[in-house]
Amino acid sequence: MSTVIEPPVEQAPKNLEELEAVTIRFAGDSGDGMQLTGTQFTNTSAVLGNDISTLPDFPAEIRAPAGSLPGVSGFQLNFSSQDIRTPGDQPNVLVAMNPAALKVNLSDLEDGGTLIINSDEFTKENLKKAAYETNPLEDGSLKGYRVHKLPITTLNMRALKDQVQMSRKEMDRSKNFFALGVLYWLYDRPMDATLHWIRTKFAKKPEIAKANEIVLKTGYNFADTTEVFTTHYTVKKAAIAPGKYRKITGNEATAIGFIAASELSGRPLFYGSYPITPASDILHELSRHKNFGVKTFQAEDEIAAVCAAIGASFAGHIGLTGTSGPGVALKQEAIGLAVMAELPLVIINVQRGGPSTGLPTKTEQADLFQAVWGRNGECPAIVIAPSTPGDCFHMAVEAVRLAFKYMTPVFYLSDGYLANGAEPWRVPQIEDLPEIKVEFVSDPENFMPYGRDEETLARPYALPGTPGLEHRIGGIEKQHLTGNVNYDPENHHFMVKLRQEKIDRAANDIPPVEIFGEQTGKVLVLGWGSTYGSITSAVEKLQREGKSVSSAHLRHLNPFPKNLGEVLSGFETVIVPEMNLGQLSTMIRARYLVDAVAFSKVKGRPFQIREIVQKVEEYL
């Protein structure tokens, strides 16, 4: 098994075949650097002009026991010369760095798919950790696949021996770059971008930079010169809309979207947050941009994070707090306070598997009810959801716009899949971004803290520091107009309706939901949030087959777009795929009396295109 394949003396020219799209999954131990390897391949492919979509999939434990099944970390990437929207249903290629990685991921690999295996790690001990009774490399169980057994650990060591001053353990850490080098050759990718990254990243650790560089190139040359591979492949540039692009993850787009909202509104951003997976990257990203006047506050807990954001809003900043579902559960009382005090506030929920601690690193969409109805009392708030990583940017701007205009909390529902998934993002022109108007009152004449804008019903925004407008707000019921404490039954009934009406009126201010496909037909697939990619791809496939299927995707969930009822009425069946047990479909049924079909998948993984295709076919 540890035999090194020596380069042949004479080298036959190798075939180069063109493919439309490839899905690769890198899988290894959580310490093997699979996320890094996948990200490097993604960046290179993006800059090369492919359309890309990624799905990182890692355990909640930072370092589960080495070689164990729970410790397997994966990164799936789909790159294509066509417009794609998902990381691919099934990998065509699986890179397995150890037996556990093979065991966990093999069932997802397409029949006849390519397996690239680090054979050195298939030791007795590791096989046992992965609960293999016999060695799959030897027992014939992989015969349905194209298997490439490479002694990567040995080859890596050999490449570094006498080249760098490092311990064996340190040298061993470079082996993911060997695998990356092999894949770069196999899919005809240039190494430049990764070499540049290595030199920048390890500028202060030249030995590590050197080791990674040597190993990357050795892996590439090894694949090129040995006879392990006879063919390699190329994937041409994608035909996507012209413009300037960058690769972006949902969390990155969220962070810079809120900075953009700050620039567009002229109000500084205050971000109160407590570390939580998978939202922490937003805190990291925002804390790097203090030169935009961004104030990041890592609070002592979720409650302090939202309360400080509310205080910031009261003082005229954009009050923003970010977390995941369990954190929202803790914040809800304070969000109710912001509803009562009628202050702008944005709550980011990067949803993850629940309930309770649930599946911290996996995706889910089961916090829609929590956002819409999860507080005590009649406590309406605006709820919106981005649909792709790039859309996170635009919906962040939208959240702030609505929060200021309606003086209300706005929920922004991202999820783990959007947060960590990446896609090419067409960089917008700043002049195309919406204006965010924030008006503060200053005239004490006739000032009423709970007076109303006739159109939006928003109350005036009076900042502490403004002479003559001193007033008190709080969580006790407010008297209409004066904002004084008031327990009168009629006033309470009125104020409850007024707060609801204010949120309902935001429907006048949001775009109608668009139909992808015919305006009427047999099936409408209705979605929200991160299911956009799978739904749209599935519907597109069915439409190409001439089926009567359309789709519509909601970015505004409370209130709904005004035309939604009309859109739903144009179809015989409405199917709602959701990563929950049917939350949007319940809302649709209640609101429009439509017999919507809930299509649930709550596995911590996004929908595959084919799953949606199959479901829709049942109703055609």
Binding site: Y245, V427, E454, T466, H471, F494
Partner: protein
């Protein structure tokens, strides 16, 4: 498949107008408590507020008086409540600080004391239980120019809000933090609080409290408070001095006020605070002065090894020179902590200390935050959105 078209979303505007008309009718009918100010002279509610940039401010009135800080709201504490004295004192101190009214914000949580902001004619935010320090943190960090006050009680600060108490203090925001300690839950009608004495019989502890109380000053000092003081509601003059000193301290200023709840925990502090015994049993800490107390000013605090002891002046040749001299500026908080633990109890000699325990300087959170922003701008230049969205590896599709 049936749908009802536009659903219930159809006629928002008409519905809204009806709603507003209803609000107006309600006002016209004279809903209880609505003041003349909104007696309903016009057909519609407030028109759109003028759009003026905040910060275009008129100069503050030349000289403010106590009356300027009294809001129009009817004060609704029980007659005889210690809160009245504290309110009165704070309103009296405010004009002395020379801060324009509009730059003052009172923030509170939940409980009797937390109604305080409604009675101050300043900006105010009556937030939720225990969270006032967090709300105040956001306000102060966003606008350091404001004078921000946190009003809280023993349940609000130390029970439900214990976490925020610790962390707001250790961050050293320039907040004035006044804790009304009545050792009971008043608003919920008489359950024990985290400062209630061990063994106390209350509504929720008919057989006596079995958890040990905590000492607010100990926690504040352990949380690295830069200013710590204590006073008594009925000791009006002393209380005013403490409130003013707290306001003038830059950094977090924590003041515990012993406050009598005459309904659910009456006479809680009488054993040392009652007028006839106070001078005998209360130690008034004064910076730079030896720790002397007693009606005849004949007793003092001396260190005996690592422990304080009460000594009698003139006995065994003891003079004031032997006594501990109070120093509020000590960097080491040990002495302040020791004093915070001292208490008057029947059968012991020790007095109950009040006054400023500690006042040290340390950079405030909001200044450090502003400093990092300034440093970041100096290093990277003011943020450019154009640059930001175009950062990272980009490529052009023709």
């Amino acid at each position: 498949m049936t749908t009802n078209g536009n659903g219930t979303n159809g006629n928002e505007h008409e519905k809204g107008e009806e709603l507003l008309a209803e609000g107006q009718a309600m006002l016209d009918a004279g809903v209880e408590g609505i003041t003349g100010n909104v007696s309903g002279s016009g057909p519609s509610p407030e028109s759109e507020p003028g759009s003026v940039v905040a910060g275009e401010v008129a100069p503050p009135p030349a000289k403010l008086t106590k009356a300027d800080f009294v809001s129009g709201q009817e004060v609704r504490w029980c007659p005889g409540c210690g809160d009245y004295a504290i309110l009165n004192n704070v309103q009296k101190v405010m004009p002395e600080l020379g801060i324009p009214r509009e730059k003052i914000v009172f923030v509170s949580g939940i409980g009797c004391s937390s109604r305080f902001p409604y009675y101050m004619n300043t900006y105010g935010f009556h937030s939720i239980h225990g969270r006032a320090p967090a709300v105040a943190t956001g306000i102060k960090a966003s606008n350091p120019d404001l004078s921000v006050w946190v009003i809280t009680g023993d349940g609000d600060a130390l029970s439900i809000g214990g976490n925020h108490f610790i962390h707001a203090i250790r961050r050293n925001l320039d907040l004035n933090y006044i804790l009304f300690n009545n050792r009971i839950y008043g608003l919920t009608k008489g359950q024990y609080s985290p400062t209630s004495e061990f063994g106390k019989n209350t509504k929720s502890t008919p057989m006596g409290v079995i958890d040990y109380p905590l000492n607010p000053l100990s926690v504040a000092i352990a949380s690295e408070a830069t200013f710590v003081a204590r006073s008594i509601d009925i000791d009006v003059k002393h209380l005013g001095t403490m409130v003013e000193a707290a306001a003038r301290h830059k950094g977090v200023s924590f003041v515990e006020v012993y406050q009598n709840c005459n309904i659910f925990n009456d006479h809680a502090f009488d054993h040392f605070a009652e007028r006839t015994v106070r001078s005998e049993r209360v130690l008034y800490l004064e910076h730079g002065k030896p720790m002397v107390f007693g009606k005849e000013r004949d007793k003092g605090i001396r260190m005996n090894g690592a422990h304080p002891e009460v000594v009698k002046l003139g006995e065994n040749g003891i003079t004031e020179d032997d006594l501990l001299v109070h120093d509020i500026y000590l960097a080491d908080p040990s002495v302040a902590f020791m004093l915070a633990r001292m208490e008057y109890r029947e059968g012991t000699d020790f007095p109950q200390p009040v006054g400023i325990f500690r006042a040290v300087e340390r950079a405030t959170y909001e200044d450090l935050m502003a400093g990092q922003i300034a440093a970041s701008i100096a290093k990277q230049g003011a943020g450019s959105l154009e640059k930001l969205i175009n950062s990272g590896d980009t490529w052009v599709v023709e």
